[in-house]
């Protein structure tokens, strides 16, 4: 494809191209430009990790810094969407959802249904997920399953720069509220991304590696760990098929089931805590709808049921590793 850029640059490019195309697209969040009211540089930060840098100088009145006031500005983004704008609001860390969750799950998610179909809330809430930054318990969670659970929301979790740009453009054009989850450890990864605009549809998983032996279903950063494990396992003649969900709501059930029926052996890898997670969701799907094809029980590789620890020695144990993934796949491959 066109050229190699980072996941972070791909997101920035998606925002820029959509803002150029549609004057209703506005960006807001804490320090999305940075420097508001301060004597020094404007666009000082461009987002805490620089993802939105360069947008404010280009679109001076459409990139809004906010006070640290999530329920107000996330709610404002939602209200503005209901009133005809296309806001992209940033919830800096998904861990902060607690202070604005009502606006998301009781208001945005439910307007269309409660109002008898007569409302549209095309808001995008971008947020950072994931551990590995040594950012500790309140800045490292993977709370995508909580949003996935709520009818009326859509949830996207790109794992590659190509998917990040395409899914964000799709999210902005989508007429439903979208939670767009960016894994903070993926911002630096690079990949081929077309210069032009393009979309990736929701509800379409990507088979990133074809194989006939064991199916690995996963998303976000774990896609890369699963591919690493698959590479090692190939040396042991275990042939893995790796499925990147890309969006957890809607979720591409057909692709998961097609693969489960082909291999009969499924491992789900999820960086989140195990209870009521995307992992349990996929495992239940397979158990219900692919039971007849299964040659081994489904295995889940997840974080433990603990908050994210700070010390790197512990955090590295918390996050599912390629070795742990490979071990699970081997057990499933050799079962029976």
């Amino acid at each position: 494809m066109a050229r190699t850029i980072s996941y972070q640059q791909a997101i920035n490019e998606a925002l820029r191209q959509e803002m150029e195309r549609d004057p209703r697209v506005i960006v807001m969040g804490e320090d999305n430009a940075g420097g508001a009211g301060s004597p020094g540089e404007q666009d000082a930060w461009g987002g805490v990790l620089g993802v939105t840098k360069g947008l404010q100088p280009r679109f001076p009145d459409r990139v809004l810094d906010t006070p640290i006031s999530e329920s107000a500005f996330i709610g404002a983004a939602i209200g503005a969407a209901a009133a005809g704008m296309r806001p992209v609001a940033e919830l800096m860390f998904i861990d902060f959802m607690g202070v604005c969750f009502d606006q998301i799950f009781n208001q945005a998610a439910k307007f269309k249904y409660m109002f008898g179909g007569k409302a549209e809330t095309p808001v995008v809430i971008r947020t950072m997920i994931g551990a590995g930054f040594r950012a500790a318990a309140q800045h490292s969670q993977m709370l995508t399953s909580i949003f996935t659970h709520v009818p009326g929301l859509k949830v996207a979790c790109p794992a590659t720069p190509y998917d990040a740009k395409g899914l964000l453009i799709q999210s902005i054009r989508d007429k439903d509220p979208v939670i767009f989850c960016e894994h903070k450890l993926l911002y630096g990864i690079k990949g081929d991304v077309p210069e032009e605009s393009y979309t990736v549809p929701f509800g379409e998983a990507n088979v990133v590696r074809e194989g006939n032996g064991v199916t690995i279903v996963t998303y976000a950063r774990m896609v890369h760990f699963a591919l690493q494990a698959a590479g090692e396992l190939a040396k042991k003649k275990i042939d893995c098929e790796v499925i990147d969900l890309r969006t957890t709501s809607p979720m591409d059930e057909a692709t998961i089931l097609e693969s489960a029926e082909k291999t009969g052996r499924v491992v789900v890898v999820d960086e989140a805590n195990p209870r009521c997670s995307v992992a349990t969701d996929v495992a239940a799907l397979v158990a219900q709808k692919a039971f007849a094809s299964m040659k081994a029980p489904v295995e889940m590789v997840t974080a433990p049921h603990v908050p994210v620890p700070f010390s790197d020695a512990l955090e590295d144990l918390y996050i599912p590793s390629p070795a742990r993934i490979a071990a699970a796949v081997e057990r499933v491959a050799n079962y029976g």
Partner: protein, 324 residues
């Protein structure tokens, strides 16, 4: 403030009377057990919704509370559809899927009654923000109660509206009680209006039983917002006639509290007295309105009772615009 014309006075009276008769009728019908779920009645507070919404256009947005029937009617939502919605019928404003607490009509700028106390503040900041981009002088009004005045979302919304200089009006309807607790106990300052200065916005206290006072204060706030002067906080002081919800025994209230209010403070009585004695509108004209409104409400209830409920297939529709 400019004097109101006869037709405007009649319009105001009609709106208040429609709200009053709507609520009184819901009160009696609810007691029969036919209306599902919860209803929260606005009777006694009509002057606030009417006085404010008379300044608004269809493209101005309002957010409301769980006690939203009055705001809906004042903003132009059809009472017949509203009654059907309260009865859970498919002909309701929200096809029976929202109910009393979630009646909305975005085509009339009514962003919904809201089951979450304080939920409307941030949403109206959003509507006001959108109005700024549209550059047509649109405004957003957030109606909230004394209970909500203590909710973080309202405080955050007021701060954000000030910081972003939004065309927003915050109308605190202090009706004396947040559920069963008196507002004088739960609100730490003497007046909710005192909180406006904390957020750098002009505030005013209004006798909520006085339509003219409410109308005047709202007029100033709407003008300020339309002209880019930023947000205003209006505190309407009055009391609700009914309980927090229908079924509330209201044992927390004084013995003749409501009776006295209806005799001495009632906004409709006061309105009638004033306009008739000033010969601006005749008693006969007002009586005619009374009669028409009663007929309308009667028709709405009859229809609501007879209309069909949603079908099973309606359960699964209207969740998304598209999925995937």
């Amino acid at each position: 403030m400019a004097k109101l014309s006869k037709s405007q006075l009649l319009q105001a009276y009609r709106t208040m009377r429609t709200i009053r008769e709507f609520e009184e009728r819901v009160h009696t019908e609810f007691a029969t057990g036919e209306i599902p779920g919860f209803v929260h009645l606005y009777a006694g507070e009509e002057a606030s919704a009417t006085g404010v919404c008379m300044h608004l256009r269809d493209d101005d947005y309002i957010a409301s509370t769980h006690r939203g029937h009055g705001h809906c009617i004042a903003k132009g939502v059809d009472p017949v559809g509203m009654m059907a919605e309260i009865y859970g019928k498919v002909t309701g404003t929200c096809k029976g899927k929202g109910g009393s607490m979630h009646i909305a009509d975005l085509s009339r700028g009514m962003m919904g009654a809201n089951g979450i106390v304080g939920g409307g503040g941030p949403l109206i900041c959003g509507a006001a923000l959108a109005a700024k981009y549209k550059r047509e002088g649109g405004v957003g009004v957030c109606f909230f109660g004394d209970g909500a005045s203590n909710q973080g979302t309202i405080l955050e919304a007021m701060n954000l509206a000030s910081v972003w200089n939004l065309p927003a009006i915050f109308v605190a309807e202090n009706n004396g009680y947040a559920e069963s607790t008196s507002s004088s106990w739960s609100v730490a300052s003497d007046n909710i209006a005192d909180r406006g200065s904390a957020f750098g916005m002009p505030s005013v206290i209004v006798d909520g039983f006085d339509f003219f006072a409410a109308h005047e204060a709202a007029g100033e706030a709407v003008k300020r917002a339309r002209e880019g002067g930023g947000p205003t906080l209006i505190e309407m002081k009055f009391m609700r006639y009914y309980g927090h919800f229908e079924g509330d025994q209201q044992t927390y209230r004084g013995a003749d509290e409501v009776k006295k209010l209806r005799e001495e403070k009632d906004c409709l009585l006061r309105f009638r007295k004033r306009v008739v004695s000033a010969s601006e509108v005749s008693a006969a004209d007002l009586d005619a309105v009374d009669k028409e409104v009663l007929a309308l409400i009667d028709r709405a209830v009859t229809k609501a009772k007879a209309d069909p409920k949603p079908e099973a297939a309606d359960l699964l529709t209207d969740v998304y615009v598209s999925y995937p």
